[in-house]
Symmetry: C2
Subunit: 441 residues, 2 copies
C-alpha cells in the first residue's frame, strides 16, 4: 500500500528565499511574466506565488537560446543565485537552463506585463482571468487578503468567535425590495442581504461573533459605489453600554489592521502607492449636525433631511480632514425611518437611533449601531412598522429567552480596499464584480 506522508518534498526554492542561497545553483518555478532584451543580455521576470522575481539571461552563462523561452510559459529554471542590492528580493538568478511545464496557445489580447493595465474598465473586467496577472492588479488582491488576515487576527485576539451563517434564508434582514429570491424546493427563499439575524442570535451564544462572507443586494442602480454581491466583514458584540463601544472596537480594529498591512505587505503598499492611514482617534458627529456643517461650510441647501447625498459624504470628509487631519469620521444618530427595524431608538427621542456610519475618504464603508435586545421593545417596534411578528419567530426566540445589550457593524471589504487605494470605482477592488449588467466572468 502507498502511504502519503506529511513531508512535502520540493527541490524548488521560493523566490523570496533565494537570498539565502547566494553562490549556489538552485531551481525556481514560475511563469515567464516578461522578457526584456537588453544589449547582450536579457532580464526574465518570473511571476511566482509571492512576488515577481528577476532572472538574468546571457549567452555567456545560459545554456539555451533566449528565443526558446516565451512569455506566459510555466517554467522551472535552474541557475546561480547572485546578490543584487537593487532587487526587491535581494538576489537575482543567473539562468543556466530551463524546463517548460506549460504553454500559452496564443498571445494575450491585452498587454498584461506592463506596469499598469492601460485599458478601459470594461476590458479590464471582461478579461479578468488574465488582467489579474498584471503585477499591480495582483497586488490589489494580495492587499485585500491581507486586510482579512489582519481583521481576523484582531478579532481572534479579542475573543470573537467565527460563525458561518446560511446565505439561503427564509426572510430578508434589511427589508426593502433589494433582495434576490429563488425557488427552494418549491418554497420561496432569499439570498441573505446580511448575516444580521444570525449575528444577533449568536451573540446570545458566544457574546462576540464575526463573519467575513458574501452578502447579496439586488439594487437596481448602476453606480461606481455599488455591486450586487460583496464581501462583508461583520461583527456583533454583547454587553455593550452604548453604540460607542462598537465605534471604539472598530477604531481599534482598523488601527490594528493598518499596522498589520504596513508590517506584512510593504511590497504591495509600495507598488500600489497605497495610502495607509495611521489611526489614533476618529472624530464623531451627529447626523443632523453634520448636515448643518456641510450646509454652512459650502452654502448648500439641505434637501434630504434623512440621508446624505454622495456629494455630501465627500464634502463632510473634506471638512473633517481639514479640521482634524483624520481620513475617517463617524456619523451618528441617523433617523429611525432610515434604519432597519432591529435598530435601537434613542431613549429621549424615538425618531433617532443609536446608530452610526463610518465614512472614509468621502464614502460610507460601515453601517452599525446598537440593536434592540428587549423582546417586548422589539415586538412593539415591529408592530408599529406593520410587520408580521410571527414571521420572525425564529429571530425573536433569541430576545424572548434573554439577549444581552448588544450591537455590531458591517464593513464592506471592497470599499475599504478601494479607498485605501484611492480608487473611484468599487469594481476596481472587486476580483470578479457582479452588477446589474455584469454576471461574468
Amino acid at each position: 500500500m502507498l502511504f502519503i506522508n506529511s513531508n512535502i518534498a520540493s527541490s524548488h526554492i521560493e523566490a523570496s528565499e533565494i537570498k539565502n542561497y547566494i553562490g549556489q545553483i538552485v531551481k525556481v518555478h514560475g511563469v515567464v511574466h516578461k522578457i526584456r532584451e537588453m544589449s547582450g543580455f536579457a532580464f526574465v521576470i518570473l511571476r511566482t506565488k509571492q512576488s515577481m522575481f528577476q532572472c538574468v539571461y546571457s549567452e555567456e552563462f545560459s545554456n539555451f537560446k533566449l528565443s526558446e523561452m516565451k512569455e506566459n510559459m510555466g517554467v522551472v529554471v535552474s541557475g546561480k543565485a547572485v546578490h543584487d542590492e537593487r532587487s526587491r528580493t535581494g538576489a537575482e538568478l543567473r539562468l543556466y537552463d530551463f524546463e517548460i511545464v506549460s504553454m500559452s496557445v496564443e498571445e494575450p489580447p491585452v498587454v498584461i506585463n506592463n506596469k499598469e493595465m492601460a485599458c478601459s474598465l470594461e476590458t479590464l473586467l471582461d478579461y479578468r482571468p488574465i488582467t489579474l496577472r498584471n503585477a499591480r492588479e495582483r497586488a490589489i488582491f494580495k492587499l485585500q487578503a491581507g486586510i482579512c488576515k489582519g481583521v481576523r487576527a484582531f478579532l481572534d485576539e479579542n475573543n470573537f468567535t467565527e460563525i458561518h451563517s446560511p446565505k439561503i434564508v427564509y426572510s430578508g434582514a434589511e427589508g426593502g425590495a433589494n433582495i434576490f429570491s429563488l425557488d427552494y424546493f418549491g418554497k420561496q427563499a432569499f439570498l441573505a442581504q446580511s448575516p444580521q439575524f444570525y449575528k444577533q442570535i449568536t451573540v446570545g451564544v458566544f457574546e462576540r461573533v464575526y463573519e467575513i462572507a458574501p452578502v447579496f443586494r439586488a439594487e437596481k442602480h448602476d453606480t461606481s459605489r455599488h455591486i450586487n454581491e460583496y464581501t462583508s466583514i461583520d461583527f456583533e458584540m454583547g454587553f455593550i453600554e452604548s453604540f460607542y463601544d462598537i465605534c471604539n472596537m472598530e477604531t481599534k480594529m482598523l488601527a490594528y489592521t493598518f499596522e498589520f498591512l504596513k508590517n506584512n505587505y510593504a511590497e504591495e503598499i509600495s507598488l500600489l502607492k497605497a495610502n495607509i492611514p495611521v489611526i489614533t482617534e476618529i472624530p464623531s458627529i451627529k447626523f443632523l449636525k453634520a448636515k448643518e456643517l456641510i450646509s454652512k461650510t459650502y452654502n448648500r441647501e439641505i434637501t434630504d433631511l434623512e440621508d446624505f447625498e454622495p456629494e455630501e459624504e465627500k464634502l463632510l470628509c473634506k471638512i473633517i480632514k481639514k479640521q482634524t487631519n483624520c481620513d475617517f469620521v463617524f456619523v451618528t444618530h441617523y433617523k429611525s425611518s432610515k434604519r432597519p427595524f432591529y435598530a435601537m431608538d434613542s431613549k429621549d427621542n424615538h425618531n433617532i437611533t443609536e446608530s452610526f456610519d463610518l465614512l472614509f475618504r468621502g464614502m460610507e464603508i460601515t453601517t452599525g449601531g446598537q440593536r434592540i435586545n428587549d423582546y417586548n421593545m422589539q415586538v412593539e417596534k415591529m408592530k408599529k412598522r406593520g410587520m408580521n411578528v410571527e414571521e420572525f419567530g425564529d429571530f425573536l426566540m433569541a430576545h424572548k429567552y434573554g439577549l444581552p445589550p448588544h450591537g455590531g457593524l458591517g464593513l464592506g471589504l471592497e470599499r475599504l480596499t478601494g479607498k485605501l487605494l484611492d480608487f473611484q470605482n468599487i469594481r476596481l477592488s472587486t476580483m470578479f464584480p457582479r452588477d446589474i449588467n455584469r454576471l461574468t466572468p
Copy 2:
C-alpha cells in the same frame, strides 16, 4: 467634537483571567446559565464569551437574595476572586452583588443548561437560537471555528492567497442538475456549486489560492450525509508534479490543524470527548483495488463499478483501520465518467482520472485531483462530452494564455467537524442547516 479613540475601556474582567486577581474584588459580565442550590449556598454558572464560569452565592457574603437572580438574565456581577483548584479557570467568584442588564420574558421551552441537550434532532434544530446556548452545542461550533483558524494558519504559512469568488454565477462548475437557479435582473443565474472555475483562474495569478466559503447543492435527497448549503474549505495549487502533491498538502494541513486544536481547544475537546487523530501518514489505495478489497474481505458482490455505496465507504475505513491503524484513507483514480470535465485523465488510461477522495471514519470528506491545464486538451474533453465550449470562454481564457499544471481539493467543514465528534448526522455539526425540508431558522 467627540473623538473615538482606540482604547476600549472596560472595567470588566474576562472569566479566563480571574485567576490573576485572587483576593481582589472584580466585575465580570455574562448570562446566568444555571443556578444550582446546595444546602446553605448556591453555585451560579455564568455563560461568558470563552467559557462557563462558576460563582458562589452565600448569605454569608452575598448582599442580595438568591431569588432576585434568575437563569437567562444578563448580569454584571461583582465579587471576590478566590483560588479554586477544581475549577477549569483556576478560580471562582464569591458573589457580593449584581446588576441586571437583560432579562428573559419566559422560561425556555427546552432545557438548555443540562450537560447535554436531551431532545430530538427536530427540536434541537427548531430551537437552534437557544439550543446553541447549551455548553456542549456551543463547544461544537467553537471547535469548528478552531478548525478554520488552524487551516488558515497552515495555508498562510504555505503561501496560499485567500480569494473571494462570486457565489452568483453564470454557469455551474460541477455539472448535473443539482444547482439552484435564480433570476438575476432578467437573466438566469446560478448559485455556485463550488469555487472551481475561480480557483483555477486564480492559480494562473497567485499559484496557490484558498477560500473558505458557502457552496450550494440542490440535491433532492434527504440523508444524514447531505445538506444543501455547506462551508467548503477549498484550495488549489500550481506547479504540481502529480495529484499526490495535493494529497501530501492535505495530509500536512490536517496534521497541522489537529495539532492546533489540541493546543488551543483543550476545553472543548475534553467537553465533547472529541477524538482528534494524530496523523503521520495516510494510506492511499486505487478505487478499483479498494472495491476488490471490500468485496473480498466482506464477501460482497460489487454492484456499482463507478462509485462507492455509503456502506462500502464504512467497510473500507474499517479494513484500513485494522491494517494500518489510520482513520483516513485516500482513494484514487476514480473513473472519468464519474468526475467533472475539468479532471485530468490518466496518461495511460483515459477512462480514469488523476483524482482522489479522502475518507475519514467511514465518510468521504474531500474530493480533489489534478485538473487539465492545457487548453487544447480541455477543449477536446469538453467536446467529447458534448459541452458548448463557447459558454465556458471565460474559464478557458486562463488555459488559453498559459496555466501551470495544477490541482486542488474541496473539504466539507461540517463533515470534518462531525467526524471528529463521531456524529451520525451532518446537521449536528451545522449551525443552521439547510436541507430539502428545512429553510429555518
